[in-house]
């Protein structure tokens, strides 16, 4: 396959690194070209990295619960930067507390994310979806 480029990182003042490293590892092993901008990054960092690497997707991790605040306006910022088309994925412990996931998914979809995952989602599920969404032929 032609390697697809993605940018990933953990948004906000969020110190959780383990899931991020695990996911990076899995993505690389599945043939993605990954730019991992790590933790403590803001929306602009993601967008800058996406433009620089000409990435097809932004993968936002958010664990600490502030995802709902930290992700507000993300799609709009992409549009402003001229990358309104970019595929956007978010995963982790997206919101504060145990909430019905369907409601959470809806809120993040409304913010313009294309895929929204519940806590503890397996990397393989994320990767499969990503392949489908980016049109990577699965052999």
């Amino acid at each position: 396959m032609k390697q697809k480029r993605v940018v990933m990182g953990v948004i906000g003042v969020d110190a959780h690194v383990v899931g991020n490293k695990l996911m990076e590892n899995a993505l690389r092993q599945s043939g993605f070209k990954v730019t991992n901008i790590g933790n403590f990054v803001i929306q602009q960092d993601f967008i800058k990295a996406a433009i620089e690497t000409n990435a097809e997707a932004i993968l936002v991790g958010t664990l600490c619960g502030h995802g709902e605040l930290d992700c507000q306006g993300f799609r709009e910022a992409c549009i402003e930067a001229g990358r309104g088309d970019i595929h956007m994925v978010v995963g982790g412990n997206l919101v504060v507390g145990k909430q019905d996931f369907r409601g959470v998914e809806e809120r993040f979809m409304d913010m313009g994310f294309n895929r929204v995952y519940p806590p503890g989602v397996s990397p393989s599920r994320v990767i499969e979806d990503l392949k489908t969404d980016l049109g990577v032929s699965q052999e």
């Binding site: 110190a15 690194v17 383990v18 590892n25 619960g65 502030h66 605040l69 504060v96 503890g120």
Partner: protein, 477 residues
Amino acid sequence: MTVRNMRWSDEEFKKEREKVLSLWPTGKEVELEEAIAYHKNLPDHKNYAKEVRRAKAAGITLCQPRGGVALIDDHIKLLKTLQDEGGADLLPTTTDTYTRNTKFQEAQRGIEESEKAGRSMLNGLPVVNHGVKAVRSVVEAVDRPIMTLAGTPYPRLTSEITLAAGFTGFLGAGISYPASYIKAMTIDEGIRHYQYLDRLVSTYAENGVLIHREQPGFLTGTLIPPGIGIAIAVMEMLLAAGQGVRHYSVGLAQNLDLLQDVAALRVLEEVCHYYLRKFEIQDMFISIATHQWMQAFPPDEARAFSVIVMGGIIAALAGATQVITKTTHEAIGIPTRQANAEGLKATRMAIHLTRGRRLVEDEEMEIEMEMIRREACQIVDKALELGDGDIAVGAVRAMEAGTLDVPWAPNQHVKGAVVPVRDAAGAVRYLHTGDLPFDREVAQYNQEKLKQREAKERRVCDFDTAMGDILEICQVC
């Protein structure tokens, strides 16, 4: 590098305080004298230090939950539930991550959005934004001592506000938190920030108000080998002592191996006293805290209860004075107050069920203790050597050199060359010891233990094994 393990002069401290108190408008609410008077009027059972001291003397294990929500009223409801339903011995106030990173603007937005949404949009209580008076209403509403759980490398204004409000405990320290909670801060700066806090606590003490300081030995919570956890606890204790703190607890996160966890908690206390003697610090109260599993939890609640109950049993069998409890919501999100109370109830019951029995020290445990002791002391001694006897200098240089290291840390000033992995029996060992200054005996013991696992599983222990071990508990069964 400017940090030294020396008590700040009054002048130095005063100068810094002015800056700190002006970081956010509520800083103006802090009046030290008024606060001291307020503390003096608090009953003993609302003083963290006194409660911990009493428990330690009685050989009791106290239960200490975590918890915080965006708004004061909801936070009071939470603490009352923990107290009345959960039977918490000690109460928490966890701050949100904006506050932890001095992003008080964002915290303000979090408060507003929480009010709008009718649910907490923050992962803790933004104590700075709420200010002294509001936070004091929390103290008034409950009947237990309260500790600030601020998980931050920026504890200064938070400590000013919460101590002035009448909280009597503060969790955090200058190596652990910069290492585990932030990406860019130097250890040097982290130590200075906690020196400030410890100096403040010491100022309260000089004025007759005892504040309990607690060290957060869990670090990144992710398979921390006990030698590393203990070494950092010792260093942070010496740093606190350096500012005049005399009421301290040190902690470790449980790794969920009964034998190693108990061994580690015992060595922790021992090694602390060893260095206190070495530095001729005589009047330091030390108690031992154990943190229930700090790593990825099973999403299944029944299994999560097992992890919690085992945590209570480990605490009791080790004779720890404090156990910090988790909840069955851990894998998913900030717990409801009911779930939080349940974690407490299960833990208290577990402690009851161990009936004061302690785990026996047989030969296997003695060997384990000896190895942990060596690891811890070798790391501390190396740091002292690098710092020419000054543990503040030493800690910074040791972290640079990698003779002190924290696995899975987000901080770029942490080397991160150490990779932990379990051995055949379940104890945490090192896949890579990085630049830790271990002698041959320790290294060989570690190698042997890894070989036993390789033999048992008939495959080499590699990085994938280490990754697998991180997921073990959340994926079990």
